[in-house]
Every structure is written in C-alpha cells, then in structure tokens.
C-alpha cells in the first residue's frame, strides 16, 4: 500500500514538478510568473488537441510545450519589455488562458485520444518497491524525474544557466558584460512556460486521458508555492512535488482502504507547510532568493 501511495505521488506530482521546475528557472531570472497555471492549461489543451488530430502523443507534448511557452512569452513580453507589473500581469494572463481554453476546448470535450500508456522500464521495474514507484510510470513522468537534475545542471553548470542566474541577481553586471538582461529574462520565462506546458500535457494525455475545462484545478499555483518551499532548488522542487502529489495520493489511497481523512484540511497542508518552511527559514530563504526577485517585492520595502 505504501508502494501504491508513493507510485501515486510520483504520477500525480509529475505535472506539478514540470511546472515547478519551469517556475524555478523563471524566478532564478528574477521573474515570478503567477500564470504558470495558465501555461499548464494551454499546454493541457494543446497537447490533447494535437494528440487527437495527429494521433501522436509526442506531437501533443511538443504542442503543449509550445503553447505553454507562447503564453509565458506573452507574459514575459509585457513584464520584461513593457515593464508591466509581474503579479498583475500574471493574473491577467491566467484569466486569458482560462477563457481561451474554455472556448477553444469545447470541441475536445469527450473526444477520444491516443495518449501515453504506462511503460515499465525493462529490468528496473522489477526491482522490489522502487521498481513500481519509479519505473512503472508514463513516459512524461520519467521525463519529469529526469528534468529535475537536468534543470539543476542547466542552472548551475552551464553558461545559459549562469546568464539566467546573473539576470536574476545582478542584471547590471550582465549588461556590462555585453549581454541583454531583458533577453535573458524573457528566454528564461518562456522556457519556464514550456516546462509548465509539458506539465499540462502530462495531466491531459498521460494521467487523465481527458480534457475538461479548468482541469488543472489549482496545480499551477501549487507549483508556484512549491518553488519557494524548495528554496529555488530544482532538486528541492522534486521533493516538494512528490510531497504535494503524495498528499492527494495518500488521501485517495487511504479512502480506498476504508480510512477517511478530513480531505479539505489535508489539502490545506501543503500550503501551511510552505508557509511554515518560509517562516522558520525566512532569513536564509530570502537570502537564497534571487536578488532580482526580491527586488520585485522590494518596491514594497
């Protein structure tokens, strides 16, 4: 049963993990994108629609990634180039995504799709316990698990990552070195939206095999909270996403065993946990926050 709970945590957490990794990159560049939920929504719908039309789930993933990136690029264009406020623009863009997906998604409600099946990794899936949890999942979940170390590597060990971090910490230095901090930020946000879009795709064409209006149901906001919970660390985001996914999985699995928990209060737990982590570690966390991101809020100081 613990096996089933953890396997469910991985499966349910992977869409959140994609979005959280994307948001990590975005925030590392100094931009907080509240429309992550929106990127997931357009990603979920685009992936579903393209998978339906082409019959190819991987084409769907590409479409989801492109749609998530496009929405984030719209957000980034407003924020980075037009200097619009990040929080307000994020919410506006989210409203746009809600409306667009509700309208354009009408034609895909109840339509069948050839999505991703679960694909057990040969040999590895035979490992007791761990095999079921980690190696008997859908392909996008594997991708999510691999994406966490990949994003860590990207941010900390590569030149683009250095640029992203520099854009978040010391835009002036970047500028002095002949780079455009704006271009870097724009790219980082769009990249983040792309990952969120793939997260949406996981939800619609790997987990649920269905499209319905507003199907992301708050998972994008969970991802934003998670990034802070994780201290802007991709590996921490992995842990956090499993935790968030685990809460849902635990609750459903326990019900399936005949144990019921107060679901509503349990659902509040991840947010409270994030708050608690922030409070306990606030000084260190704020230190860990990208300088440019603090500046977003700095206005208020």
């Amino acid at each position: 049963m613990i096996e089933a709970i953890l396997a469910g945590a991985v499966r349910g957490g992977s869409s959140i993990l994609f979005a959280a990794l994307g948001e990590t990159v975005s925030e590392k560049a100094g931009v907080i994108n509240l429309s992550t939920e929106g990127s997931m929504l357009v990603g979920a719908l685009s992936a579903y629609a393209v998978a339906v039309e082409t019959g190819n789930a991987w084409m769907g993933v590409l479409a989801g990634a492109a749609a998530g990136a496009t929405l984030a690029a719209l957000f980034a264009a407003m924020v980075v180039w037009r200097g619009a406020n990040q929080l307000a623009t994020g919410i506006v863009v989210l409203f746009l995504a809600l409306g667009v997906t509700a309208l354009l998604g009408r034609d895909y409600v109840g339509v069948g799709v050839e999505g991703f099946d679960r694909w057990a990794v040969p040999l590895l899936s035979d490992i007791p316990f761990v095999g079921t949890i980690l190696f008997d999942q859908d392909p996008l979940t594997y991708l999510a698990l691999l994406a966490a170390p990949a994003v860590w590597f990207l941010l900390n060990r590569t030149r683009p990552g250095l640029l992203v971090r520099a854009a978040g910490e010391r835009g002036e230095v970047l500028f002095a070195a002949g780079h455009s901090p704006r271009l870097v930020r724009f790219s980082a946000v769009a990249f983040g939206g792309m990952l969120a879009g793939i997260g949406g795709a996981q939800l619609s064409i790997a987990l649920a095999l269905n499209w319905s209006e507003n199907m992301v149901a708050g998972r994008g906001f969970v991802a934003v909270a998670l990034v802070i919970f994780a201290g802007w660390n991709p590996i921490g985001a992995l842990v956090g996403a499993l935790f968030f996914g685990g809460v849902e999985s635990l609750q459903l699995q326990l019900q399936a065993q005949g144990v019921s928990l107060p679901a509503d209060l349990l659902n509040a737990l991840p947010y409270l946990a994030t708050l608690a982590v922030l409070v306990v570690l606030s000084r260190r966390r704020l230190h860990a926050a990208p300088e440019g991101l603090s500046r977003v809020f700095e206005i208020s100081r």
Partner: protein
C-alpha cells in the same frame, strides 16, 4: 498635479468607454430589429430554458440532459430552447435564469443539484414562469409554479451491481463518488446490494473526490482502487471518460453512469445506467404550457421508478463479457424490483446497526434523505 492628471485620465476613459458602448449599441439596434422580424415571420415560439452545470458533451450527466432537451424540442415544434452550459452552482445561476426569463422563457429546467435554492428564489419572483428542478426536493414554502423531478437512479444501479457482482473475481468493487449526498449514497448502497444479491462476498469500496469533474484526481482515484484490488469500477461523476478509460487500460471492468460510454471500453464495459429524459421533459413542458402545471404531478416532488413504470433511468446495453446467466439474473431482479423496492429491510449499516427494519421499504422521500452506507461498503461518509 498628478492628481489632476489622473482625473483627466479617468474622464478620458469614461468617454472612450461610452463611445465604444454606443457603437456597440448601434449595431445592437439593427440586430434586434432583424431578430424580431424573423421571430414574427415564423410565428411566436415559446421559450424554454435549460441550464447545465458542465459542457453538453461530457459523456455524462449534462450530455444526457442536453439530449433530453433536444428530444423535447423535436416533440414540441412550437418551443424554442434557450441553453446555457457550464454554469457554476452559485449566484451566477440565478442570474442566468433571470436572463432567460427576461428573454421570454416560460419554463426553466435548472438541471443540476446545486441550483436548487436559486431555482426556488427565481420561481418565487416570477409566478408566471414554471421552474422545475432536476433532482432536488422542494423546501418550504411550497410554490405553485415550482416542482422537482427525478427518476429512481438507484434501480438501474442495483441491476448494474448484479452484473458487477457476477463479473468480479477479486470480490472487490470500486465506486468513485464526487460528494456524499443522499443521491450518491443511495447509488453506492444499491450497487452493493445488487452485487451482494448474487455474490455474498462482494464488497464495494467508495472514494470521494470532492469534485464533479477533476480528471486528474479521477485517474488517481481509479488507480488507487485498482491497486487496492478492485476489478470492477463504477462512478458518480459528471464527466465519466477518464475513469472508464483508466479502468479499461488496467484491465478492469466498468459499469457506466449517465451515458452509454461502451465505445470507450470495448473490452471491460459491463453495463450502466443512463437517462432518457425526452419523454418526461416533453410531458412537463406540455403541462406547463397548457397551464395545467399547478396541481399536476410535477407540482411538488415527482419521482418515478420501476414501480410506477416510466423511470427516466434506463439500463445501458450489455458489454461482450456479460454472460446470458447474468442477463437472466438481471431480468429476474428487474421484475422483482417492480414488486418491492431495493431498500427493503432488514438492512444494516456498516457498523452492523439496523437501519431499515424487516418488513419496511424506504419511500422515495426517505431515500432522498439517506445518510448511511450499508454493510459491505468499505469507506466512510466524510464527517
């Protein structure tokens, strides 16, 4: 100075909006003129409004109601339908009903459970409009232009439970439910009782998702039940596709609800319960438009089932794996249900407490107040 600038900006914005609105208004005049001539040409049609909580093609509750409305419109050429989909169960629903009335609607069908109090409020305000609510019970004070209607959902669910009880090899059935309301609890109980009638070992595990349609959560719930050993899944959700397909992929059987979704599960589909609202909608609209609604059977809480003959709930077609023996058992049970209801004592709840004593059968009204799970159901009503 900045203060003045702001005031000026505001004035400008107001002016700009006015221009835009006037422009829109001009278009509007021509539009409504054209519309009214068209209406005059084709003779005056009476408007009937339908409000759905989800999209009209959800393979579920809303699609069934939508198709019922279309059937009624086909039966009654003199009516014109006003439809609104995906209307949330909040004050916005009242607004949509008011809007339909202001567009001339004479009969309203708010078809979701959560619309009840808004529907009653609207009915109280518009005595000349008939409002009929799908699935609720009329609260005091009773209004002459308000009624509720429903079928006895749990009868076909009981029969489907027989198919499930015969089909299961693990003796574990799974039921994914949105909220613990009397209607859903009655279904879960009927399903378990049906299964138990042919397979005393069968238990039904119930999982509540706290949402009528969250496909991600549905997939997780279905997987949880299957990994817990359930090999037949059924559900009480508005959108049904995810659970049916998740079960099919995992090799589990499916009992449908709301709609014939056998196309989604060619292997595992057993049977299901679906609606045929057309005749009842037609009858209600006819009564309303004839002016005979008040005092009719629909003015109040109208419930039909096998005992009265014309249950709007019907059983879906059987899937390939259902044996002739099972079909025969279901036919026998069906004939029996017309004699004696499902919730006939002695019935004990999960704790072994007697909830329906021997010799009594719950009335339709009592079923609508149901707040227990029968013995054999695994899971709790969230407190």
């Amino acid at each position: 100075m900045p203060h003045m600038r702001r005031t000026r900006t505001l004035a400008a914005l107001v002016a700009a909006l006015s221009i835009a609105l006037v422009a829109a208004g001009c278009g509007d005049d021509e539009e409504s003129g054209a519309a009214s001539t068209a209406a005059a040409g084709s003779g005056e049609k009476t408007k009937v409004g339908f409000i759905y909580v989800g999209p009209k093609d959800d393979f579920g509750y809303n699609q069934a109601a939508y198709e019922g409305s279309e059937a009624a419109a086909a039966n009654l050429p003199d009516i014109e339908l006003l439809q609104a989909e995906s209307v949330p169960e909040d004050a916005g629903a009242e607004r949509v009903m008011e809007r339909m009335i202001s567009q001339g609607a004479k009969v309203l069908f708010p078809t979701s459970y959560g619309y009840l109090k808004y529907a009653q409020a609207v009915a109280a305000k518009h005595p000349d409009v008939v409002v009929v609510h799908q699935g609720g019970l009329e609260a005091e004070p009773k209004q002459p232009n308000f009624g509720t209607y429903f079928g006895t959902v749990y009868e076909p669910v009981y029969l489907a439970g027989i198919a499930a009880g015969k089909a299961t090899t693990s003796n574990k059935l799974g039921y994914i439910v949105a909220f613990p309301i009397p209607q859903t609890l009655a279904n879960v109980n009927a399903f378990e009782l049906g299964a138990k009638s042919v397979n005393p070992e069968a238990t039904t595990t119930v999982v509540f998702t706290a949402s009528w349609c969250d496909p991600g959560k549905q997939a997780q719930a279905a997987t949880a039940l299957i990994s817990g050993g359930a090999d037949v899944l059924t559900q009480h959700q508005d959108c049904t596709k995810t659970i049916i397909e998740t079960a099919e992929r995992a090799g589990a059987s499916t009992v449908g609800y709301h709609y014939d979704a056998s196309s989604l599960a060619p292997e595992g589909w057993l049977t299901g319960s679906e609606w045929s609202w057309g005749p009842m909608y037609t009858d209600i609209i006819t009564a309303a438009l004839d002016g005979t609604f008040e005092g009719s059977q629909y003015d109040g809480d109208y419930r039909v089932g096998l005992q009265t003959g014309d249950n709007p709930f019907v059983q879906s077609a059987f899937g390939p794996s259902v044996t002739d023996e099972t079909k025969a058992a279901i036919e026998t049970a069906k004939a029996g249900l017309a004699e004696k209801g499902i919730f006939t004592g002695p019935l004990t709840d999960q704790d072994g407490k007697e909830v329906v004593p021997a010799g009594t059968t719950l009335t339709y009204d009592e079923v609508e107040q149901m707040n227990f799970l029968v013995e054999g159901v695994v899971g709790n009503i969230p407190k």
